[in-house]
């Protein structure tokens, strides 16, 4: 009896449960669950300290980009069974998790590689934005290095999708 692979994506204003993400990918055919948790660092920017992050998303497109991302993962690592990504929206305090990902696979090699690729591609393609808020009440929008049209990138973006 073969199991239907699941791709689970959820945006949540509540704190994230790692156990829920792990449970979402659980499978008796899998010997490995690979997990990544992204948490909010207390960065110091000059004399200002980060107190939290404010997240927003283009929700419908985040879902469709996640679907494409999962298809990409499954093409590269066909043994991957289930993929789950839970991402915060709204205010996330320093120390809290902003994203939890879990991927199940029969053996750990594919799952470990897939989870690295998953966070990289999420940062590059999924329409979510965060604003750093400082103890001075100032704020600044962040830009992922992975995003092809961020100011960090030197090359001209060539990202028109067919």
């Amino acid at each position: 009896m073969s199991e239907e692979p699941r791709d689970v994506f959820r945006l949540s204003r509540d704190w994230l449960s790692v156990q829920e993400a792990v449970d979402a990918v659980n499978s008796t055919s899998c010997g490995a669950v690979s997990v990544f948790i992204g948490t909010t660092r207390e960065d110091q920017v000059g004399s200002r300290k980060v107190i939290g992050l404010e997240y927003e998303a283009y929700e419908s497109m985040a879902q469709s980009e996640f679907t494409k991302l999962c298809a990409d993962i499954r093409e590269r690592w066909p043994t991957v069974m289930h993929v789950c990504v839970h991402h915060r929206l709204g205010w996330v305090k320093v120390g809290e998790a902003s994203v939890v990902m879990a991927i199940s696979s029969p053996h750990r090699g594919d799952g470990q590689q897939a989870i690295q690729h998953c966070i990289e591609q999420l940062k590059a393609n999924v329409p979510i934005w965060k604003k750093e808020v400082y103890d001075t009440q100032e704020a600044s929008w962040k830009e992922n290095l992975e995003c092809r049209w961020s100011a960090h990138r030197q090359e001209t973006p060539i990202i028109n999708q067919q």
């Binding site: 997240y55 962040k142 961020s150 999708q161």
Partner: protein, 87 residues
């Protein structure tokens, strides 16, 4: 031909325009992404802050600002997409 589209503003573009979204009527179609961006700049000059660090999303497909021609239909979503920072 023209189309009435729904423009969505996210992150910094939302702060620059003061809007989450607006209906824009009679947008020429087909139209290059460059011309579409210019049309938005005329409506909201403060968006120029994002020049060179922005793409559009037409019907939820990313489109770089440039020569690519897009066709628009009534009710299509056109999003202004500053650099991403998820994760």
């Amino acid at each position: 031909m023209t189309a009435n589209v729904l423009v969505l503003f996210f992150a910094q573009s939302r702060e620059l325009t003061g809007l989450k979204q607006e209906e824009v009527a009679a947008v020429p179609t087909p139209i290059s992404s460059q011309d579409l961006w210019r049309l938005l700049l005329r409506r909201h000059p403060r968006l120029s802050v994002l020049q060179d660090q922005v793409v559009l999303a037409v019907r939820q497909q990313y489109v770089a600002i440039g020569d690519q021609v897009v066709t628009l239909g009534d009710g299509d979503e056109v999003a202004v997409v500053p650099p991403l920072s998820g994760g």
